[in-house]
């Protein structure tokens, strides 16, 4: 086995694979664990996926939502043990893999067309 194959082999062993398939433009809800002192509770974060980045255990995704009048973005590692579950609420139609243009848009302009299934 080559070096690269061995690295991939190790990465596959630690990677989390049971997350749903989603991409930029989709609206998702991430349920993640928060530690406060020694208590643990769950919190939801619902928003639009801006990008998926990286590969293997280093892969992350960015979710953006408008809270109040302020845009809030969170970056989650895909394999993080803090992520309880991910639900895909809406499939969006976008033309690129990274939709950073959404940051400059507000209100009606920031809508994303929903994918017809």
């Amino acid at each position: 086995m080559s070096k690269k194959e061995l690295i991939t082999f190790v990465e596959e062993q630690v990677q989390v694979t049971d997350i749903p398939d989603f991409k930029a433009g989709d609206t998702i809800t991430v349920t993640y664990k928060i530690k406060e002192g020694n208590k643990e509770r769950l919190q939801n974060f619902t928003g639009v996926v801006l990008q998926r980045k990286g590969s293997g255990p280093a892969a992350t995704f960015t979710v953006r939502k408008i809270s109040g009048n302020v845009g809030v973005e969170r970056i989650f590692p895909v394999s993080s043990p803090f992520i309880e579950k991910i639900v895909v609420n809406k499939r969006g139609v976008v033309r690129r893999a990274r939709i950073f243009y959404l940051r400059g848009l507000r209100g009606k302009k920031a809508r994303i067309k929903e994918k017809r299934v």
Binding site: M1, K3, K4, L6, I7, F9, V10, E11, Q13, V14, G56, P57, A58, P77, S79, S80, P81, F82
Partner: protein, 209 residues
């Protein structure tokens, strides 16, 4: 002490139970063969010699081939000697040592040859700050070492003065690296943190206890 010869495969990362992303190095360790046992009577000290990797027959000298024939194995690439090997691991000719001598979670040392950086100045090699400003009349002293000693006394430069010279490409030992994972069927050890040398270089994984 117990130890094994291995090969640095490369780096990746994995998550600990408390959610931290840990950098880790994958090492292909063993299986190694005992090719010689040195004893006090015959050699003046006690040690065992381990061999690892594959060496092509046509690249093996007759002397080496004879040495491996004695242990009854095909020619191996790397030969290293381990002194003060644990009593429990006292081995004989042709015995095989693999990753099962280690356990997940324990702390080990890794010895390797660091990446060569060539002839480097004091700023890169010893972390000197360089001399003064870049501008304001300053001329070509930016990365100079500055003074290396006083004049009339001692009239010489002290031994061990840090100066420019060869950096890297020397034996380096990383101590107390935690074993995060062991994959026995593929002879892999995953340790937390980095290990000296480029990918594909040979390292010694050892435990002193």
């Amino acid at each position: 002490m117990s130890g094994i010869i291995g090969k640095k495969i490369g780096m990746t990362s994995m998550y600990s139970e408390d959610g931290k992303n840990l950098p880790c190095t994958v090492i292909e360790a063993g299986p190694c063969v005992v090719t010689q046992v040195k004893t006090k009577e015959t050699d003046g000290y006690e040690a065992i010699q381990l061999s690892y990797g594959e060496r092509k027959e046509k690249h093996t000298t007759k002397a080496l081939k004879g040495h491996f024939d004695k242990a009854g194995v095909t020619p191996r690439k790397v030969i290293r000697e381990f002194t003060r090997f644990e009593k429990g691991h006292q081995k004989k000719f042709g015995d095989i040592i693999d990753v099962s001598i280690f356990e997940e979670g324990e702390y080990i040392d890794v010895v390797g040859t660091s990446k060569g950086k060539g002839f480097q100045g004091v700023v890169k090699r010893h972390g000197f700050k360089g001399v003064g400003d870049k501008t304001h009349g300053q001329h070509n002293r930016l990365r100079a070492p500055g003074s290396i000693g006083a004049s009339s006394w001692p009239s010489r430069v002290f031994k061990g003065m840090r100066m420019a010279g060869q950096m890297g490409n020397k034996r380096v030992k990383m101590i107390n690296l935690q074993i995060l994972k062991i994959v026995p069927e593929k002879n892999l050890i995953v340790v937390k943190g980095s290990v000296p040398g480029p990918n594909g270089s040979y390292v010694i994984v050892e435990r002193w206890s």
